[in-house]
Amino acid sequence: MTDATLVMSLRPSRFWLAMRYIRRNKSLAIGLAVMLFLIAFTVIGFLTINPRHAYPLSAATRQAPSWKYPLGTDFFGRDLLAAMVVGMWQTAAIGLIAGGIGTMIGVFLGFVSAYFGGLIDAIIKTICQILTPIPVLLIQVVVAGSLDKRDVTIMVMALIIVMLGWMGTTLVVRSQVLTMKERQFVAVAKLSGVGSMGIIFKEIMPNLLPFIAAAFVVQVFQAVFASFYLAVLGLGPLREPLLGNIIWSAQGQGAFFNGWWWWPIEPAIAMVLILGSLALINMGLDELANPRVRKSE
């Protein structure tokens, strides 16, 4: 230990530290701020607009943004403001469902694999290794494409995405638990009479919380990303005003050629905000979880 690190390690109270930290971890702060803005937009939106206007033939068609239609309308007569609100909500739903389930599967398998080791570990690890090179999105294309379009609902879409989205979390959690398991405090806990369950849940799990949080954000990111791509390829629930769907239909109608620029641009910007805030939050959490990547200031 050098003198410098010793000085650094003599630190004041946790609260002060947290305040300092948030101020320094700009990506986390900005990401959370954007996320809050999006939530506010959706909530306020639902209180003020009529969700039915998010569906075709509910408004005038092909209107540029105006006072009546602040975000304009599309070829099919959707009010894009309403479509944004509903689409944002649906995107969030897919992200949270798929991300949540994916994280749970990943954390569970990761823990089981690393903690018990042996054959179970070998099997789980091999499955992950085999599935990793398979382009997840393309398999999802097959799944979504093979289903009857009428069967593809928001929930089904989320499940399609979960199906092949758990390996990353599993491998991350597994490697973290593996290193954690070798840490000496686990040995000491054993000497203190703590059993397997206690070691998993009371000794190891708390230290993994930042990783699990980061993994969750990554899962949500990937789920939103995947649902967006599926929708852009025309494989989403076609009737729903999913952001990807809107871009898909705009592209199909040649929106730019016809001068309806707002139609694809608005969902694109919304998507940038969603994915961008998730990416920033993930970066921030990464810094929190992995002190080695902390900024050298």
């Binding site: 230990m1 390690s9 003599l10 630190r11 946790r14 840490r183 000496q184 405090f185 040995a187 000491v188 806990a189 054993k190 000497l191 203190s192 009479g193 703590v194 000794e203 708390p206 230290n207």
Partner: protein
């Protein structure tokens, strides 16, 4: 009375790879006895790779021996169940080398002390638990209000290692495995930590196995010593005897290389052979570095009893009577010879 600890021909071999498995012998045929009625401090000394840490892991039951048995108070430790297992857990404790790594960074340092109290039901209520923690911390020279409620990174290395010793104290174990407890602590603090350990043995009747590469501290704290090299016993006996007049060429080299903090004991001048990476596993493990290696050394030398309290596994002492490995303990003195 049953013995506190019996090791019967304990060996540990690590194998790597499923096909073309390479076996590394970490520990070879160790037999050892500690008696309940004579608490002692026994040093197990050796360089890295000597198998001393493997021995610690075996004794704590974290790994199982490849061959041989470890008997704790009459029971094989691999077969312990239920309450017996909990009793073993409480009675055999450890102090580790790295005073930081033993703390779970998520919790305050209280966690280290409160968990064993809770798990082993050492106190009936929170107040009694706190009193126990205070008592243990005071005994190792810490003020409880200075350390409790703080996070490990907020304490100095010395404070952290003292808390570790306090943890061992709190549990009043019968056997304490001290694995390099002072090698990462400042020199000025070593003395007080070692003293606490010795008091644990003297005042509380705890047997201590002190694992180290540092013969100076070993000399000061221990009664007996076993010197390991690549998993095998090179020399064993009374610590004064072994350090003041080492008989095995390896021990001689080790003792010769101790940087004594004294102006009248300078390093020797004899040549040191560099350690080779892969030497064959038959014969004397030290022979590739030994300045006195002979043709004979290609077979494993037995232990020769040089005097009442010293034995060495080297053909240079072939004139002395052989002593079977399992009777090695008979040579190891148990009482502190210099009483303070």
């Amino acid at each position: 009375m049953t013995n506190l600890l019996d090791l019967h021909h304990v060996s540990k071999t690590y194998t790597r790879g499923l096909i073309n498995a390479k076996a590394t012998v970490a520990l070879q045929e160790i037999s050892l006895t500690l008696k309940q009625e004579d608490p002692t401090i026994l040093t197990v000394a050796g360089e890295s790779g000597s198998g001393k840490t493997t021995l610690a892991m075996l004794l704590l039951g974290f790994i199982t021996p490849t061959t041989g048995q470890i008997i704790y108070r009459g029971k094989d430790i691999t077969a312990l169940q239920g309450e017996e297992r909990m009793a073993f857990r409480r009675e055999v404790q450890a102090v580790f080398q790295d005073p930081f790594a033993v703390f779970n960074p998520f919790y305050t340092v209280d966690h280290l002390l409160s968990v064993p109290i809770k798990r082993f039901k050492l106190a009936t209520n929170a107040k009694a638990a706190r009193a126990k923690m205070d008592e243990a911390l005071t005994a190792v020279g810490l003020r409880p209000e200075d350390v409790l409620g703080r996070y490990p990174h907020q304490l100095s290395g010395g404070q952290r290692q003292r808390i570790n010793v306090a943890r061992a104290l709190l549990l009043k174990p019968r056997l304490l495995i001290a694995d390099e407890p002072v090698s990462m602590v400042d020199a000025s603090l070593r003395a007080s930590i070692l003293e606490t350990l010795r008091n644990l043995q003297r005042d509380h009747g705890v047997s201590i196995i002190y694992i180290t590469h540092d013969l100076t501290t070993a000399y000061h704290i221990a009664n007996a010593i076993i010197v390991l090299y690549r998993g095998g016993v090179m020399e064993a006996g009374d610590v004064d005897q072994v350090i003041k007049s080492p008989q095995h060429p390896y021990t001689r080299l080790l003792v010769d290389s101790i940087p004594w903090p004294a102006l009248d004991r300078r390093w020797g001048t004899d040549m040191i052979k560099a350690r080779e990476a892969g030497s064959s596993s038959v014969g004397c493990p030290f022979r590739s570095r030994c300045p006195m290696a002979m043709e004979q050394c290609k077979t494993q030398p037995p232990l020769y009893k040089i005097n009442k309290t010293q034995a060495a596994a080297c053909y240079l002492h072939a004139g002395h009577p052989e002593i079977a490995a399992e009777r090695l303990t008979e040579l190891l003195p148990v009482r502190t010879q210099i009483e303070a």
